[in-house]
């Protein structure tokens, strides 16, 4: 296949795959279960809600992966944020002012692990995997300590709960995604992110302050982990230190399925969105058609391998021309 054609295929295949999945589940659901899969507002909302949790983490993770890095700490920074917002709101009382302050404090506290990640990786030259793995442990411990003996911190605040009801978490995630899409695709910050991922030496020679940029990218990732934690506590009325534990790998999978290479230089937020949707549709769909949900792990794994193979083929054929 000619490289230009393959380049187009590799750009649109996640969309086609998502469409194919939806068609598949819809057909099966109609015939076997007797009700519509995608034609139900509740189903669409449930799928979007399920996708929004790892997607929030994936927004920051996309930037990190484009720079050829990885952020393994996002799950537990999310947990730390969930606990922090619960503690702040509990101590602050009711009212929008308290909520706003609590959100600001939570985000500020969680930028610290992001800064530390950036410092370790950009200034001390620690490989991203190891640096963020260390922060994975630190944030985890901090989260559990901040939660006290309970491991979760119940919270009762009408304003916070509103953020977690109905379509609100989906809308919040969507708005943030759109804003970051503009940042990544239209601004110098985004351009430099791609450049650093493609060739950090070239970027440095071109005058880009690579180290400062990387610190910012990791702080951005921590910011979104914090947002994820706040939404979690809003949805479940309790901040759990392990809130994001099972979301880390899904966030990376979403970014990779969306077309990013773990070697850096490629990726997009639209891709990560499709990746998150594919995973959520598979998870929801399998349960909806009464298949053992454990098949979802095999399915998602297969999709990841497929997306990497397509990516590799594009690489190889592109070079050969």
């Amino acid at each position: 296949m000619a490289p230009e054609r393959l380049a187009v295929v590799s750009r649109i295949w996640p969309w086609l795959f998502l469409a194919g999945l939806i068609v598949f589940f819809e057909a099966w659901a109609q015939l076997r279960v007797g009700r519509s899969f995608i034609g139900s507002g509740y189903n669409v909302q449930a799928i979007l809600l399920a996708a929004s949790a790892p997607l929030m983490l994936a927004i920051g993770q996309t930037f990190v992966i484009i720079t050829a890095g990885i952020d393994l700490s996002v799950g537990f920074v999310m947990g730390l944020a969930a606990v922090c917002i619960a503690q702040f709101v509990d101590r602050g009382g009711a009212g929008a002012g308290v909520l706003a302050l609590a959100i600001a404090l939570t985000v500020a506290s969680c930028l610290v692990p992001g800064w530390v990640n950036g410092f370790l990786i950009a200034r001390l030259g620690v490989p991203a995997f190891i640096g963020t793995l260390g922060m994975y442990g630190v944030a985890r411990g901090a989260g559990f300590l901040a939660a006290g003996s309970g491991m979760t911190v119940p919270v009762d605040h009408a304003g916070l709960a509103w953020i977690g009801t109905g379509w609100t978490p989906v809308v919040v995630t969507g708005v943030l995604l759109a804003a970051m899409h503009v940042l990544l695709s239209q601004t110098r910050f985004g351009q430099h992110t791609y450049a650093i991922g493609g060739n950090p030496q070239s970027a440095a020679r071109a005058g880009i302050d690579v180290r400062r940029h990387l610190v910012r990218v990791y702080m951005l990732s921590a910011f979104f982990a914090a947002c994820g934690g706040i939404v979690y506590t809003a949805r479940y009325s309790a901040g759990a230190a392990n809130a994001g534990e099972s979301l880390l790998l899904d966030s990376i999978a979403a970014v990779v399925i969306g077309g990013a290479s773990l070697f850096g230089g490629t990726g997009s937020l639209v891709g990560s969105l499709i990746g998150a949707l594919i995973i959520a549709v598979i998870q929801f769909g399998l349960i909806f058609i009464d298949v053992n949900a454990f098949w979802q792990f095999i399915a998602v794994g297969a999709v990841i391998v497929l997306s990497v193979l397509i990516d590799q083929a594009k690489e190889r054929l592109g070079r050969a021309s």
């Binding site: 000619a2 054609r5 187009v8 295929v9 649109i12 295949w13 086609l16 469409a19 194919g20 068609v23 598949f24 057909a27 099966w28 015939l31 076997r32 279960v33 007797g34 009700r35 139900s40 509740y42 189903n43 449930a46 809600l49 399920a50 949790a53 003996s149 309970g150 491991m151 979760t152 119940p154 709960a161 977690g164 009801t165 979690y232 949805r235 479940y236 009325s237 309790a238 759990a240 392990n242 809130a243 994001g244 534990e245 099972s246 979301l247 959520a280 998870q283 929801f284 349960i287 909806f288 009464d290 053992n292 949900a293 454990f294």
Partner: protein, 332 residues
């Protein structure tokens, strides 16, 4: 080839594939008989306790002529159980039987189910206070709570452990994590009962988040700083497995007495070898049976009791081979 052509070609292939799969689906037997009540069962985690429960549930479903939907989360936490819960709500079962993984965090998601017209029964664990249909509180809507009396179970375990260590010494509790109604109650019952034994010192509880390996590591750590540890109360399945492994690894079989909740597969060996002194077995099969029976009744418009307590079987090395006792060991 232009981009548009590629997209069209891709869409055609996708449509053909979907059609093929659809035909395959069409050839398979059709779906549910709409007059049967549909009951969804959603336990807490992959665990022999819940698989044993499912067998009782299957039995009740068969007897009641109901269809049983079943999915099981891979880990004991909210982020795993809630997406499965939502997908099950989408199937509009008549009744949902669930073991909620957190007594606070699952209130809102289950309220959604209730608001959608699905009746909720909680089994093994509860939300809120566990007292349903009282007209008070935000976790009032479920119809029934079917479980062991976990507080009493905790007391029984405390009494058994006190006896095993000669009513004096240092003990500690190995538990899953706080916020789960069942294990919280066992811990409370245990602590309450131990207050009556002034010569027994209870150390701080260790939480293993349902991970047997972590529980074993805790045992090693506690033994390191308290070499004369006399006993451990393991409050659930994985705590028990881990605690037993930890004691065995330390070579303290029979020296450190272990009282465990839940009769995991292999408990008979452990009891006979002296590794575990007492196993307080619950009756998950009965829980599964009763909760699904109540669910079928609810689906048919009958009323059901708001609680049902299943009992315990206290197993030790002397009675575990007795077939009436042995049958209560859980299995996958």
């Amino acid at each position: 080839m232009s981009q548009r052509r590629i997209v069209i070609r891709g869409a055609v292939i996708a449509a053909q594939a979907a059609l093929a799969i659809t035909l395959m689906g069409a050839l398979a037997p059709a779906g549910a008989d709409s007059s049967k009540p549909v009951i969804a069962l959603l336990p807490g985690v992959v665990d022999p306790f819940y698989f044993t429960m499912k067998r009782g549930a299957d039995q009740a479903a068969k007897e009641a002529g109901a269809e049983l939907l079943f999915q099981i989360p891979k880990a004991w936490n909210t982020a795993d159980q809630v997406p499965i819960l939502k997908a099950m709500i989408a199937k509009h079962p008549d009744v949902l039987v669930i073991a909620p993984v957190d007594k606070t965090q699952l209130i809102q998601p289950l309220k959604e189910a209730s608001d959608a017209g699905i009746k909720v029964i909680t089994v093994d664990t509860y939300i809120g206070t566990g007292k349903y249909r009282t007209g008070a509180g935000n976790a009032d809507f479920p119809y029934s709570y079917v479980a062991s009396d976990n507080t009493e179970g905790g007391r029984i375990a405390a009494q058994a452990l006190a006896k095993a260590i000669g009513d004096k010494g240092t003990v500690y509790v190995e538990n899953n994590k706080p916020g789960i109604s069942s294990t919280d109650q066992r811990a409370e019952g245990f602590a309450e009962e131990m207050k009556k034994h002034p010569n027994i010192k209870v150390l701080e509880t260790q939480y293993n988040e349902d991970d047997a390996n972590r529980a074993a590591a805790h045992v090693a750590a506690v033994l390191a700083r308290t070499p004369d540890l006399a006993g451990i109360f393991a409050a659930n399945t994985f705590s028990g497995k881990g605690a037993a492994a930890g004691v065995k690894n330390a070579g303290k079989t029979g020296v450190v007495k272990v009282v465990t909740f839940d009769a995991v597969p292999g408990i008979d060996q452990d009891l006979k070898s002296g590794l575990v002194d007492i196993a307080v077995a619950q009756k998950p099969s009965e829980m599964g049976y009763m909760s699904v029976k109540y669910a079928a009744d609810l689906a048919r418009g009958k009323t059901v009791p708001t609680t049902f307590g299943t009992g315990f079987v206290v197993m030790d090395k002397s009675n575990v081979d007795n077939p009436d006792v042995h049958k209560y060991i859980y299995s996958n």
